[in-house]
Amino acid sequence: MSIFEYNGSALVAMVGKNCFAIASDRRLGVQLQTIATDFQKIYRIHNKLFIGLAGLATDAQTLYQRLVFRNKLYHLREERDMKPETFASLVSAVLYEKRFGPYFCQPVIAGLGDDDKPFICTMDSIGAKELAKDFVVAGTASESLYGACESMFKPDMEAEELFETISQALISAVDRDCLSGWGGHVYLVTPTEVTERILKGRMD
């Protein structure tokens, strides 16, 4: 079994019109046994920047703590919030530093940059950035997520339609993956508000 399949996860982020959505599943398992059904995988860095971490849960939590530390130092020095592009470069550098003994995590970063332009990116576990204009996926369900998002995504969707699309893509993909599921957690961010929703999914 691969290290990435030890805990199981599914993450997806999509870009809409002046908004973005980032969604994850809620299961935490130890190989095939489920030990938690409300595990948080998406973390808030600041109001307009979210990071989801797929892969080994212990590395995800440690990496999140290190990134929050670096972000707070940046905020103290620069007296402003970090731009998503800058944060993505920071995460890439933190991961590449451990090139020969990596964190077993795949981050998905989503944020609103200058002029509230949505920004999403994902990386592999050693920090190779992959910027996309439409959607990014990560986790054990990534292959199903690629398929679901390719067919369901449309460019320039409004907030409500984006929410529906990302939820349907997440739920259909995790239904085909044993290691992720037990509902979904979706954050929909527009320039004026952050909407956090919990989805009902199959409980198996």
């Binding site: 691969s2 530093e97 090139r99 020969f100 592999d124 939820s167 909407t195 956090e196």
Partner: protein, 273 residues
């Protein structure tokens, strides 16, 4: 005190503190993950006025296409560009690092960077990591001494050639170059040949795909033609789009309005005594 220093921004270079733990996990039977690779076809050729570099745009993670339109032609200096094949994180990191070193060198010397400088910096870094930094590069540029094209292998060896190909699609692209290359090509002939070689890689090699990127470097000028050719458009796009008959069931909704940041006005009214 020492624990604080561990989390502070590092002094640069690699950090090996998770290696022991990862070894232990491997022994317990957990296999390591695959990294994002750029399966790739990258090419370069020298024409009468300079150098032309070409690359495909597919990034793979095992058998899956992770990025359909990634950038493999990296900027090194205004007159030097580098195509990268191999592990994506390694090619990006090594080209970024040498690009910053070249910029510092330009400030020190006050002169335009030379291709051999970039070459030496790259090959010494790759050799010192004995091939573990898996980056295979095609470096090309035009400096005061003329146009140059080099290939750099992950272990640190280099070749200087009039035309070169690297990556999993290198054989397909080299077949085109070997039959059609000649010295003294014009710009249009050169770009056409490079595009043909990359297309050969895209269609015949499974690790390469999507679009063709081309970069033309001449004395004092460079043209980065991102997505010069798009030979693989989406064949069928439904006009209706996807419609969901059953809406997702939402258990809980929490809306957080984003507060406007308070504006601090310089030189406001002084407080009343």
């Amino acid at each position: 005190m020492s624990r604080f220093e561990e989390s502070a921004p590092a002094r640069g270079g690699f950090s090996f503190d998770l290696c022991k733990r990862n070894e232990m996990l491997m022994q317990k039977g957990l296999k390591p993950s695959s990294y994002l690779k750029t399966g790739t076809t990258i090419v370069g050729l020298v024409f009468q006025d300079g150098v032309i570099l070409g690359a495909d745009t597919r990034a793979t993670e095992g058998p899956i296409v992770a990025d359909k339109n990634c950038e493999k032609i990296h900027y090194m200096a205004p007159n030097i560009y580098c195509c990268g094949a191999g592990t994506a994180a390694d090619t990006e990191a090594v080209t970024d690092m040498v690009s910053s070193q070249l910029k510092l060198h330009r400030f020190h010397t006050g002169r335009e960077s030379r291709v051999v400088t970039a070459l030496t910096l790259l090959k010494s870094h790759l050799f010192s990591y004995q091939g573990h930094v898996s980056a295979a590069l095609v470096l090309g540029g035009v400096d005061v001494t003329g146009p140059h094209l080099h290939t750099i292998y992950p272990h640190g060896s280099t070749d200087t050639l009039p035309f070169a190909t690297m990556g999993s699609g290198s054989l397909a692209a080299m077949a085109i170059f070997e039959s059609k290359y000649r010295e003294g090509l014009t710009r249009d002939e050169g770009v056409k040949l490079v595009a043909e070689a990359i297309c050969s890689g895209i269609f015949n090699d499974l690790g390469s795909g999507s679009n063709v990127d081309v970069c033309v470097i001449t004395k004092g000028n460079r043209e980065y033609l991102r997505n010069y050719m798009l030979p693989n458009p989406r064949t069928y796009v439904s006009e209706k789009g996807y419609s969901f008959s059953k809406k997702t069931e939402v258990l809980l909704t929490k809306i957080t309005p984003l507060r406007e940041l308070v504006e601090v006005i310089e030189g406001g009214d002084a407080m009343e005594e």
